[in-house]
Every structure is written in C-alpha cells, then in structure tokens.
Symmetry: C2
Amino acid sequence: MTQALRENIEDLYPTRSAEDESWSERHDPVVWSDWNAAAPLTRAQADAFERDGYIMLENIFSSGELAILRNELDAIRGGGKRLTPDSVITEPGSDEIRTVFQLEKQSEVFDRLARDARIAGVIRFLLGDELYIHQSRLNYKPGFTGKEFYWHSDFETWHAEDGMPRMRAISASILLTDNDALNGPLMLMPGSHRTFVRCAGATPDDNHKTSLKKQEVGVPSNETLTRMAEKHGINYAAGKAGTVILFDCNTLHGSNGNITPFPRSNAFFVFNAWSNRPQRPFAAAKRRPEFLGARAPEAPIAIERGGLA
Amino acid sequence: MTQALRENIEDLYPTRSAEDESWSERHDPVVWSDWNAAAPLTRAQADAFERDGYIMLENIFSSGELAILRNELDAIRGGGKRLTPDSVITEPGSDEIRTVFQLEKQSEVFDRLARDARIAGVIRFLLGDELYIHQSRLNYKPGFTGKEFYWHSDFETWHAEDGMPRMRAISASILLTDNDALNGPLMLMPGSHRTFVRCAGATPDDNHKTSLKKQEVGVPSNETLTRMAEKHGINYAAGKAGTVILFDCNTLHGSNGNITPFPRSNAFFVFNAWSNRPQRPFAAAKRRPEFLGARAPEAPIAIERGGLA
C-alpha cells in the first residue's frame, strides 16, 4: 500500500541527485485554511506566519503549567525516567544529554503538551488537516559548552530521508528556560520558507548517525546562505520560559553555540498533516529510524483543551 | 633595573599558585582622574565606566575615515601587506586569519588610529597617565565558522604572564564591521572589574602557544562564572562599524561562535599606563613574546588630533 502510493507521487522537490545546488519556488501553500473569526489565531498572526514562515505565541501557559513542564524536564535529565537508549543523543565530546527523542512516548506530561489545543489546535488550522507527530525531542543546550546547530531546512531532510512528500508540516518549539540573544537562541531567516534549495551530494548510508551531531549533507552552500541572509535577514526567537515558536518545515534556521552560564532547553514537536504521511524516501536508500520520523502513525492525535494540570 | 623594580613591588594580585581559586577586592581605582568640564568625556560616561567597567563611543568617525579603515583591513587580510609571520594566528582547523598582532607596527593607518585623541585621549584621562600600547591586534571572526572566545579577565594573564603590576590598563575595540547580537559580539559582565579572581593551576611553559586558540589556564571556574553572571548579568557590545568599546583590563568578557554569514572584525588596542609598565611575570617562568606584551616601550605614544585622513 505504501509502495503503491509512493509510485504515484511526483517528486516536487528533487534533491541530492547528481545535479548542482539550485533554488526553486515552493509548490505548496504555507497556510492551508482561509482565516475566519472562529480561527484559533488572529488574522495578523496567520498573515505573519504566511509571510515570515514563523510566529511566536507568548503567555499561553500558567505558572503552574510551567512548573509541571520544568519538573518533567528535570526528571528526564536527572535520570528519573527510564529512556529508550536509542532516543538519547549526547554532546560531542561529553556524556551530557543534548537531545531525547520520542518525547510524547516517554512522558505523559509531554504527551499531553503535544496534544494541547493552544499549540496543536493552531497548527491544525494552519495546515488544514488532522495531525500526527512526525518527530519530537527535548533539546538541551548546556551553559558554557553548548554547541552550534548549523543552518538547514528541516523539510529537505524529511523529504530526502523520511519520504515526506509535501511542505505541509510545522514545528513547535516550547521554551523551557528563558532564552535571549546570547544563549544560543533559534535563529530564522524570515521568508526563506518560500524557496526550496535543492542540495548537492548523495545521502550516505546511515547519514543520521552523524548528521544529528553535525550535518554535512542536505545543507545549503555558504553562497546560498549568504544570499538568503542578505535577502531575508536573520531574526532570533527569544522569550521567557513558556514562549512557543511555530515555524514552517522549510524555514531556514540554526543556532549559535552558548558560552554563557545559562543553559537553554526546549521541547520540540513536528506536526505533519495526516494527508502528508511519509512514503519511501525521495533521496536515500532507506528510511531513518522510527524515532527520527514516524513511519506508520495509527491515527491522528487527539487534541485536548483544558490545560496541562 | 627591571629586576630591581620587580623586587620592590608587592604582588597585590597573586594568582596561579598552589591555592584554590578565590575572589578578592580590586586594590586600584577604575577611573584615575577627577572629572572636570575639560575632560574628553561626559561625567555620565566617566561614571558609567567606573560602575560597569566599560563604555561605548559611537559615531566618532566620519564615513571617509571608516572607508580608510576598511580598506586597510582588506589589504591586511588579502595579503597586500607583508606581515611578521609570528604575528599571525589562524582559525583552529583552517588557514583563515583569525588575528594579526602588533597592528600599529605593521600599518601606518592603524598606528594613526592607535594615537587618535578621540580614543587614546579619553583613555589617558581615565588612567590619569601617559600611555603605551601593551598589545594590539586585528581580530577577524569569519562568518559560518567563527569560533567562540571563552570568558576571561585580560589582567589576570597580563599580570601572571607579562608582569603587569596593577589594574591600570584599558582596551579599545574598534568595530570594523557591523556587529549585532548574533554574529559573536563581545559579551561583558558589567561590574565584574571590581573583583579579582585568583585562578588555580600553574602556568605551563609556552602557555601562549595554545591559550590564544583556547585558554585553559587563567580562566575562572564555571562556578565563579555562574555566580558572576547571576550577580552582574551579561551585556553585549554591538553597533555599526566605527563603534568603539573601551573596557577595563579586569572586566570579564568573552564571545560566542558565529554561524551567521556575517563576519566580524575589529581592531583592538591595549593601552597601559606608563607608570604601570611590566616587570618580571608574577606567575610564569618567562615573559610572553614581545608581540603579546610589549617589554620595554621607549616612550609614551604621541596622541594626535585632526582625524585619520
């Protein structure tokens, strides 16, 4: 069934072939619903998401909810939860936990967060479809030694290596610590989501084993990044703990290292449209493991109202 | 003569002995002149320098002067100047020039800049003495791969390894490119200049050969940096090309890496009070090379008015 679907789908975003890097227009909408007064975000927010490829949601959690999230973060980092070993990535050169994947499968609190109407409800509207979680993770950038994460479009990798057909996915980053310009915030190029950058170079086998620490394939050239930054500028997404950043799957983003004493943590969920479930990879010999890209979600997530408590 | 002087000087800032890290009060003034209406900076500026350990001077150069500085930067980086090989430091893992020392000895333009009344005149007032250049350099942090520079007090190293007796020196960083929060700006802890952090660990022989790329000895512990950052906060010094940052020799500072496409360059001069010329090192077997710390300056610099043209 999966294979049959795959054969019928035209590849609108070819990448990692023998051809050189090139730019092409996006073939998909950014906002898939027509705004109306019942929408779960304002018209200005929807317009900003369409234009910039990201928006920020502030003050949506109570202080009690934030305490619940912080406690859960501390429990996971402190060893108080049994974690699937494959789902844990450490800092280059140390044993410190950098990332824990499949967050909603390992924590009831984060499962509830992933289905919260204040986030998933907004994304369901923007994507005009039911949702499933394609990937999730807890990111921890320690103070003093937090490493940079280089510029990339998530979609390029999800398309090439996970078989995601179209640009119809949105990521939500929920800040679990205060984040300012200096402790390695998420940087984005607003408007870059409208251009698909076909990347040069074939995907090595098991590319994900190294690309999670430092991505080498599927990243734009320095020339492209310079032109994009000159055209679009670079913004950064900072705010108090509890701030939520929603960004389109094709928005170029990255983050600098962090020598300040202040760590940075966030919970990160990738919501893909139910109709955009992955096929076979478009430019890799085999799909990445389940924890990096859900292969066969059973049903759309059940979005809930009423808060985390 | 030098040795005789040295024997008579009490070490007010012992460091790198067998003792653990500890904090002590600064024994020297920060501003060595009484402000008066003829001073080359405002009373508010002098007060801010006293309080924070740094100030920024903006819009002091004309566009023509900035063009002269940028041209000289390009000539030096582009190989158009013959440079003393020992004075050039490259990026870890590449041949790109990161730093060129003894700038005023290798460039007439930068020699003139070092003696400009708008910078050196202000510093002469703050230090209440004639000046010489203890160290100078052109710093270049490339886009994409610019590395971080870890937190440190310059004075600790100059005292331990160069024999600078007292806290009576000020650094001037002249931005040669626009610098914002994201491309690795100078970060400072305002008020940290009032505390001397005695560092643990002896100085290895030829420590400067590695410490210029990554400093391991003479840096405060993470515990101290965390306490200092919580007490003082962290500011960053950003601005348009031509902005000048003056900071006290004991202000804790550092900079993050830079993955943006935008490089960052500055010219950096350390002005030491003539009466504070170095003796033998206070905590190293021998002095660092001349290009890192002038050993026997012949005369104070001749400060000039009238602009760079």
